[in-house]
């Protein structure tokens, strides 16, 4: 009977070890999959929690055209910073935490520059 108890304890220990290994693997996988996530959160905290909107601008094809888009987005009240990625057809606006900036405001700004905002993604 003693040997049966000993076998059962060994099985339980093995099972716990496997669970611990699985948990460690999951934590490691999550850390590897999104290594920047904790940094981003920190950046947000240091920015006072300001939000970002990534706008896909249709029709923007050259540097000279990007000027009007940047200027008009910067004029939207509450927008603190604008960055344009020409290769991706994207403009990123950084909005103050307490500002009431909507998709309609951003779409209107892009339209004033002579282009079209096709997608707006808030982060």
């Amino acid at each position: 009977m003693d040997w049966m108890r000993a076998m059962s304890k060994k099985r339980r220990d093995r099972s716990r070890s496997f669970e611990r290994f699985l948990l460690a693997a999951l934590v490691a996988a999550a850390a590897v999959a999104s290594p920047i996530a904790p940094l981003e959160s920190a950046a947000h905290a240091s920015d006072g929690g300001r939000r970002q909107a990534v706008i896909t601008v249709k029709g923007m094809q050259c540097p000279f055209c990007a000027y009007g888009i940047k200027k008009h987005l910067a004029k939207v009240p509450g927008v603190e910073k604008v960055e344009v990625e020409l290769a991706k057809n994207q403009a990123t606006v950084y909005v103050a935490p307490d500002a009431n900036v909507t998709d309609a405001h951003l779409q209107r700004a892009v339209r004033k520059a002579g282009f079209e905002a096709s997608k707006i993604e808030w982060r």
């Binding site: 896909t56 249709k58 029709g59 923007m60 094809q61 050259c62 540097p63 000279f64 055209c65 990007a66 000027y67 009007g68 888009i69 940047k70 200027k71 008009h72 960055e83 344009v84 990625e85 020409l86 290769a87 057809n89 339209r111 004033k112 520059a113 002579g114 282009f115 079209e116 096709s118």
Partner: protein
């Protein structure tokens, strides 16, 4: 004196080039010698300063005529709405004409403000996509008689084509088409300039068509942000001008057809553009004994300006 008068008649009969044409009209990055259909953002202005050197000469007659035009057109485009832009072109020019006369070689010349051109352009069709944009924009306007058309020297009033201005109110209109990607851009326009008579002289009407192809040669791969572009530019310009009329009679030695092939470079940043182009005559058929165009050179700079309203 009679020799001088003969020279004056030669000048009047021979000069083909009139006022500064619709060059120097800016908008976005685009063609160097004509208008694009790309938008000017609302509350934004694009200012363009250019230097143009044009020469026309004739070795077919003993008169050995030679016309040199240096011009500094300043053009401003203002975006009134996202689709409507208003353009103004203010040309400053110096014209010099040399000719052999029985009394020796003579030089005539004028300089100063030319005729201001004001016109509007409306984007009628805009098809925007992530990888391209396609625009069709009709334009139309007037050329104002702001340039001095009554300059004279010791022999009297200078020939009309040599004056800084034409003295007449002219209408112009046309259509600009643009297809643009991040790698290349193609523009085309067609247009017409209808002239009117002033002081018993009427310049010939003009019809024009232009095509421009711009290819990004640098950077080969687009990096982060908004990198500057260097475009290699190839353009072609076709212009046909009717005969001038003096007191209602057609001047057989004026007007004609010219077709240029142009090569140039354009450096485009977010705020400014530096550009230069050489226009090489591929075909030049002036009427009668009109002058033939030589190579033309254009260099320019454009600035993007955000307006406070």
């Amino acid at each position: 004196m009679s020799g001088m008068r003969t020279a004056r008649h030669i000048v009047v009969a021979a000069i083909v080039l009139g006022g500064i044409a619709l060059t120097g009209a800016p908008a976005s990055a685009g063609p160097i010698t004509f208008l694009t259909a790309l938008p000017v953002a609302q509350s934004q202005a694009v200012v363009r300063g250019q230097y143009l050197l044009m020469r026309a000469s004739d070795n077919r007659t003993p008169a050995d005529r030679e016309l040199t035009v240096q011009a500094w057109p300043v053009a401003v485009a203002v975006g009134i709405t996202p689709r409507l832009a208003v353009f103004g072109v203010v040309p400053f020019a110096a014209k010099s004409f040399e000719v052999n006369t029985p009394a020796g070689r003579r030089t005539f010349g004028t300089s100063g403000l030319g005729d201001i051109v004001v016109f509007g352009r409306f984007t009628a069709i805009a098809v925007d996509d992530v990888e391209s944009t396609f625009r069709i924009a009709p334009f139309g306007g007037v050329k104002l008689p702001t340039g001095d058309a009554d300059e004279s020297d010791d022999l009297g009033r200078l020939p009309r084509p040599l004056q800084a201005g034409t003295g007449s109110w002219d209408a112009l209109g046309g259509l600009a088409i643009t297809f643009q990607t991040k790698q290349w851009q193609m523009d085309a326009d067609v247009g017409f300039r209808r002239t009117t008579e002033a002081d018993e002289f009427r310049f010939g009407d003009e019809a024009f068509a232009d095509v421009s192809f711009q290819y990004r040669v640098w950077p080969r791969q687009l990096g982060a942000g908004v990198p500057a572009f260097l475009y290699a530019v190839a353009e072609t310009n076709l212009i046909s001008q009717g005969r001038h009329e003096i007191r209602g009679l057609a001047d057989s030695d004026s007007g004609g057809t010219r077709w240029d092939v142009d090569v140039g470079l354009q450096y485009v940043t977010t705020n400014y553009i530096i550009e230069g182009i050489v226009q090489i005559p591929a075909l030049d058929r002036p009427n009668g004994t009109g002058l033939r165009s030589d190579v033309r050179v254009t260099a320019g700079l454009r600035w993007n300006i955000s307006l406070p309203f």
